[in-house]
Symmetry: C2
Subunit: 379 residues, 2 copies
């Protein structure tokens, strides 16, 4: 008998859950015309109407089973612990040959569940895009969120090869970089790069909260370093409980590894004294090693731009100053590849970073802006 | 005898070390015309020439002793362990009545050293601005870096009151929010909000480095969460060794508190199972508490703007598109308060966040942009 999966390309996609990831996928598929039709389901009415007004989907359904009817691909983009009830609601509506995929943060548990729950004739491909945003839900959704993001697929030996290829093709079209890993490999790696940092950030916040009982001004002193290090601790507790439940053993193992690294560091700090050079070399080595490893991790991608060339301008805070600069650059034929306001003092001035694709553009920008901006600095 | 300190306002400032903080202070003082003259010293020739070309200082000196001659205020902006040798080099050149301050990360050790080393007639005021930047050194310096930043001063009972007031006045003029703490209070608070996060980030990076020996693709999966959580681990090892040396006891105490928070979290994770609701409530409570505490920490300030109103536009990636939008908004009399390119797909399109001071401006921006931009979304 012929394999029924993905003999034709995927034309109709149903997305269950129009949050950050589901919404971003929908926008990319709809606005990028990657498939013919995208149908969205969400429990939240506001998400549905926003999905329509922002061209995240072609149409919405208020009934999950109807949303998936005649879909070639169903994307589950809700917390992993909701999957069993979703499958229960949709399984009789899936026509044979439908591919189901997900975007959940843990994969071994998900693969096991789907194997048990999905009916014969439906192919499941586990997936996990490594992308996020500070803005949660569909309001944070962005057509370009997955651009250049690593998108992990976790087939096992039972996964239908044509289904893997079909999901891979869709995610490549969306701009993601697909990486195949086994479910267990995925779970152990994300335990380190995602789940451990979350729990560590939570413990840091809890420590501050404890200290703030005696030192009430301590939170005021939290500058960018503390805020960055603990940003993920503001994540959705329900999602993180799901992650802890479904990836417990790799997470506990990883916390053990972290504790050993911290112990080593603590003993090096304990050996340092302020009046000599006794054991500082060892601490210095660890800090230098960590810096080198950290610097080797690819930077936060906007999807942008190999080797952008930057200038920083200091300008007065007056109405129209950004528009004026953009006009000056436009008239000189210089294209702005990136722009960001770094800091502003109201009614005084601010600093703006502008990026260009080419070094010569940056150099020419310095020339043409020097006349009007107070100070231009090439970075 | 009359107190000689700061009877007149500070007119001449010498800055020893033109790095991120020294450079930013110099720019604010020079460009903001807060004092009459700013003299800069740095060992690095490139820093000196950049300081001159970016109006960070009025003039530079290649000899530290000459730099401080006739200064009303000397700002030490180098790693704390260099202070003793700096004081040795400048002390005979300081005229009586000069105020010396610093921007170092630890204060008890610094206060003790300065008390021992500075000659009679020189007032020391310990200081520590809570501000940083990803760009290091004078290239990261920004006239508005300290705008709205908390600036801690750590007087003790020996500190000359007029000197405290004089340094406070300067830092307020620079835009910082001055907070007085005892040296020990400062050291214990920064151990939690700054030194602990650094060491934790280092331990996280070391853990990833260990895991990457078996799972070579793990660093590829590090998305924004890991990068944010470990950003500070890329900091200068020499500065952090200095911090560990001079704030060892508060840091070790704080690591102990952190370890207890992590232990508690680990036991809650251990009690969670994927098939039930047994002990998940306790983990959920901790995660929710941490989220609430984290959300209550004031956001990263650009110096900007209470309650900015935002829209996100999805636009084609074509030359001049930013300039064109800025022109459209300018012609409609709408002022851009903030702008940032969120993501770009080269030769396809991108998403741009634009902020406005007033809600009506954001609403009108949606109207006028809807005609030209593909999609406008009000946040």
């Amino acid at each position: 008998m012929k394999q029924p999966f993905a003999l034709s390309p995927i034309k109709r996609v149903a997305i269950i859950g129009l949050g950050l990831i589901g919404g971003s996928l929908g926008m990319a598929l709809t606005q990028g015309r990657i498939v013919e039709e995208v149908i969205g389901f969400d429990q939240d009415e506001e998400a549905l109407s926003l999905a329509l007004s922002t061209q995240t989907v072609h149409r919405v359904e208020r009934n999950m089973a109807e949303a998936v009817q005649n879909a070639d691909l169903v994307i589950m983009a809700t917390p992993v612990c909701t999957y069993p009830s979703i499958v229960a609601a949709i399984k009789t509506s899936l026509r044979p040959g439908t591919i189901v995929t997900d975007v959940g943060s843990t994969k071994s548990w998900v693969m096991d569940q789907m194997k048990r729950l999905l009916p014969e004739g439906i192919a499941f491909v586990g997936g996990h895009p490594m992308a996020g945003s500070e803005k949660k839900g569909i309001r944070g959704a962005d057509r370009y969120l997955l651009e250049n993001a690593v998108y992990v697929l976790t087939p096992d030996r039972d996964t239908v090869p044509e289904a893997i290829d079909a999901v891979k093709a869709i995610m490549c079209a969306v701009g993601a970089r697909v990486l195949k890993l086994s479910p267990l490999e995925h779970d152990q790696m994300v335990a380190v790069v995602s789940h451990l940092p979350h729990m560590v950030a939570v413990a840091l916040v809890e420590t501050l909260s404890e200290v703030a009982k005696s030192y009430t001004q301590a939170p005021m002193l939290a500058a960018g370093g503390f805020r960055d290090t603990t940003r993920v601790a503001a994540g959705d507790p329900r999602m993180w409980v799901d992650i802890a439940k479904t990836n417990r053993e790799p997470l506990l193992h990883t916390i053990g590894l972290f504790r050993r690294a911290l112990d080593r560091l603590e003993s090096e700090i304990g050996g340092c004294s302020s009046d000599g050079t006794d054991q500082v070399a060892s601490l210095q080595n660890t800090l230098s090693h960590a810096r080198d490893v950290r610097l080797a991790i690819p930077g936060k991608a906007k999807g942008v731009l190999p080797g952008i060339h930057e200038v920083v301008v200091t300008v007065p805070d007056k109405p129209g100053v950004i528009g004026n600069m953009a006009r000056i650059l436009g008239e000189a034929g210089i294209n702005i590849a990136d722009i960001e306001i770094l800091r502003v003092r109201e009614r005084d001035g601010g600093t703006i970073r502008i990026g260009f694709y080419e070094a010569e553009e940056a150099d020419r920008a310095v020339e043409v802006l020097a006349a009007s901006a107070v100070i231009v600095k090439r970075l």
